[in-house]
Structures are given as structure tokens and as C-alpha cells.
Symmetry: C2
Subunit: 251 residues, 2 copies
DNA sequence: CGGCGAAGTTGATCCAGGTCAAAGTCCCGT
DNA sequence: ACGGGACTTTGACCTGGATCAACTTCGCCG
């Protein structure tokens, strides 16, 4: 199998979905091999795919899909951050994931979307009508294969997150989250790997890792007091990366 | 798309993997449409697939895969129950899922299996060498499509479980688990839908729903005291199904 | 039958993290 | 610079479930 070829990126039309350009993100507690879809396509296929798609922008808070609603669109995040969540009857919210550039939304191909999704910050996405995307997929088994790998990997990621929610203490949850975000951003953008951007609110973080906003805040404060992290605007700087990685692995 | 055809079952060779016969299980808190793989194949394909496979038996406690080990086998559970879990450095264990007849293990196609798996009770499985299975898949895009749907669905299941682990109280966790098991067994076997078989131990249940064995036991006892369930050997009888469903939905 | 080990139940106590409420901080528009 | 609203931090208190430790039940084998 051909390795993800960065060379292809240069030739790709500018409006291509980011998934074709960016590798998939790693999981919370392990480094999964990124799945690039790009390598599986030749230029004319990329162009055709770009034609099928339509770019859309979403303001912060704007809703992409509503739990239980019909939705026949597949999104591929280009920029920004999307949160995927489940709304409980009592008003609480469990965020099942943050979608960063390159991630897909709506792959489940169910008539009704199983979760809500909205934009955390202003974001852009590449949209396909499901039918058209499906049809393209049907004609390109090699693309389907890549997509399948991506789906299986996302499942494994979900299962790792499951371990975290089932077993970890508050501090480990927060640290795992920070490491997770660091890995994801570095997989996408190659930004500085010590400062981790956190576009989402404390409440979002809490709803993701199964804590309350107070506990998240307290834990972050404690970590900063212990000189393990440094809280900066819109992010966190990891001061003791090896130490942090050790305490997450150990707990 | 052709609906799952039960008629095919009668003609299928006896050694076929159960996944081709049984629909996939539903998820913890919602009824996902079962994904049958059977309908996608014609007789000669079924026969070819059967040839690729090898039946194996596992005694209770026998290990199928070890976290991090190389594994180039794909299992399809035929009978029994397999537990899929992650072992934490401190010895604790988070069970990520129970595999019942029809479920796949090892689909991730990673060189190293991300989780441990062992048999809860004496079980049988249909094994494929990964390369052969992969190659068969590559020649049958329609099968890959089915498998992909199954994977996406399993991911959605994992995400629902995630919601449970992140947000639910002990009683809801236990009740959700019972409903989940009831739905899965009824999807497979069509057994009595009031008595839910529980082949796994209390400890297993606890490690699955993120509680301790004491809490599981206490909660079950309390539910029995309130005449909502009846504990029977190797299972539980649900006495107030509508009431239980309501209290689970309510958060 | 009796005795032993594994699994399950139950009780007493503890504490991590939830809850509630009060400051504090940041950002934006005027 | 000022005021207001949203977000965050912090404190005081409370509780659900963890922990630890009997005790009971069951299955199994001699």
C-alpha cells in the first residue's frame, strides 16, 4: 500500500476536503497509525470528488446536525472545531468527540443522525450529499477501503475513550485530554507541540471527559500550581511532557 | 439494497460464520438497524468464504488476543461469549464490550490488537487469516460495504456506551446493561425476551459499566427488592419492562 | 456427606468529585 | 473608561459509590 504522499497535496485542487489532505487523528491513549485517504486517489478522482462537494461556513454555535433528525449530508471538516454530542433528557450533555480539520461527520449513513453536532468556533466544512458521496464510493472500492480503515480506527479511539471514562481519576482524565489534543493538533497542523490550543470551553472539556466544570477548573489550577502545565489564552502549555505521559500511563 | 434474507440461511453451508447468519446487535440505548452481511452474498461466495475459514473452540477463560500482541487472525463468534477488554497498569480492567455470536473480533486490521480478548464461557469462533479475509474482501466490494456499515454502527454503539459511562448513575447503568443484553440476545436467538441470560460474572458486568462489583450487586438486590427484576440462575428476569425503559430514558 | 475455594451479598466507613453559591476575569460595545 | 454578560475560578459542604471486610451461597471434588 502506498504511503500517504504529501506530493499529491501540491497538485490537488484548492477546494478539496481536508480529509484528503490531513491524516486522521490519533486516539486518546495510544498512537494509532493515521489513515490518509489521499493516497488512494489519482488526480482526476480528486477533481471529481471536489466537484461533488460544496463548501459551507458555520458560525460559532451554529448547528450542523440535530440528534434524531434526518440528515443526508456528509461533512468533512476543513477548519475550526465541531463538537459531537448527545443531549440527555435532563439537559445534561455528553460530548462524544471533537471534530478537527480532516474529520468526517455523518459517515454512519443512517437516515437519522445519532448525535447533535455544532460548531465550537467559526468553522468551515466540505459537504457532500450522501447519495452522491455514496455513489462515488461505490465506484471506488479503494476509497471505501480507506474509509473503512478510518471508521474502524475511530471506533478503536472511542473504545479507548471508554476506558478513560470508566476508570480514570480526574487528573488523569484532564491530562489525557491535553495529550490527546496535543497529538491531534500536531497531526494536523504541525504547530508547536508544547502549546496545546483549546478552542473549546471548560464546560465542553468537562462534558467530554465526564467531569464537571468545577473539577476541570480545579484540576487545571492544581496542575499549574505543580508546574506541570501553564495556562495560556486559548490553550495550555505542557511543561513536563515526559512526566505527564508517565502519570497518564500509570493511572 | 436487498433486505436481510432469511431464506438464504437455509441453503448456507453449515460451517458458515455466524455473522453471515445473524444480524449485528443493537446498541445500549437505541435500536440500531441490524446489519446483515448475508444478503450481500450469493451461494458460491458463501461457500468460498467458508473454505477460507477454520473453526476453533475456546474453553472458558481461554485467551484469543493479548493487548499489543501481533495478531493476524479475524474471528467471528459462533457460540458463547467473548469479552474484549483493556488491562490497566494497576491491574484494573475495563471491558470494552461483550462479543456475542455474530460479532467480529480483529476487524481493526492493525498489526497489533488494541485490546485483550478472552472467552467468558466455552465458545466457538470462525477464524480467518487476515490476509485471506482481506483479499476476499478486496474482491467483493459489496461485502466490504456491509462490513463498513457494521463497523460504523459498532462505533455508534461505542459512542452511546460512552454517554453511559460519562453521565449515568449506578441504577441507570445496570438497567441499561440489562436492556442492552436483552436486545442483543433477542436479536440473535429469539429467546424469551423477559429472561435475560447473563453468562458473565458480576465482576465482568462491573468492569463493563464502570462500577465495582459491590455496587452492581447492591443495585441488583435493590432492583429485585423493588420487584423490578427477578434474579435467576445465569440471568435476570425483567418484571417491569416499560417502567425500566422509562427510567433509563429519563437519565 | 463435608470441606474448600470461588463468586456473590451485605455492612461500615471514607473520600473524590458533585453541587451550590460567591467572587473574579475577560471581552466587547458604547 | 465604564458597564454588563459570559466564562472561569474558588470555597464550603454533601453524597454516591469506592473501599475494606465480613459473611453467605454455591459448585465441586474427595
Amino acid at each position: 500500500m502506498m504511503p500517504p504522499s504529501d506530493a499529491l497535496l501540491l497538485d490537488a485542487p484548492p477546494d478539496l476536503p481536508a480529509a484528503l489532505l490531513a491524516p486522521q487523528a490519533g486516539c486518546m491513549n495510544c498512537d494509532l497509525r493515521p489513515v490518509s485517504i489521499c493516497g488512494a486517489l489519482v488526480d482526476e478522482e480528486l477533481a471529481e470528488l471536489a466537484q461533488l462537494s460544496e463548501r459551507r461556513s458555520f458560525a460559532a454555535r451554529e448547528v450542523l446536525t440535530i440528534q434524531g433528525d434526518r440528515s443526508d449530508v456528509v461533512f468533512n471538516v476543513l477548519a475550526g472545531t465541531i463538537r459531537l454530542y448527545s443531549l440527555l433528557p435532563d439537559g445534561r450533555r455528553q460530548i462524544v468527540g471533537f471534530l478537527l480539520p480532516g474529520d468526517f461527520l455523518g459517515l454512519s449513513m443512517e437516515e437519522r443522525s445519532p448525535f447533535c453536532a455544532d460548531a465550537v468556533v467559526d468553522s468551515r466544512a466540505c459537504c457532500f450529499r450522501r447519495a452522491g458521496f455514496q455513489e462515488f464510493l461505490d465506484r471506488k472500492p479503494h476509497l471505501l477501503r480507506r474509509l473503512h480503515r478510518a471508521a474502524v480506527q475511530e471506533m478503536t479511539m472511542a473504545q479507548h475513550h471508554l476506558v478513560l471514562l470508566g476508570k480514570a481519576r480526574a487528573e488523569v482524565r484532564v491530562l489525557s485530554f491535553l495529550l490527546h489534543m496535543r497529538r491531534r493538533w500536531s497531526a494536523i497542523g504541525g504547530r508547536s507541540s508544547v502549546t496545546v490550543p483549546l478552542p473549546m470551553s471548560r464546560q465542553d472539556i468537562a462534558d467530554y471527559i465526564g467531569l464537571t466544570i468545577s473539577t476541570v477548573s480545579r484540576t487545571l489550577t492544581a496542575l499549574e500550581r505543580d508546574r506541570r502545565i501553564l495556562i495560556v489564552p486559548d490553550g495550555v502549555r505542557l511543561l513536563d511532557l515526559p512526566g505527564i505521559e508517565a502519570s497518564v500511563a500509570g493511572g
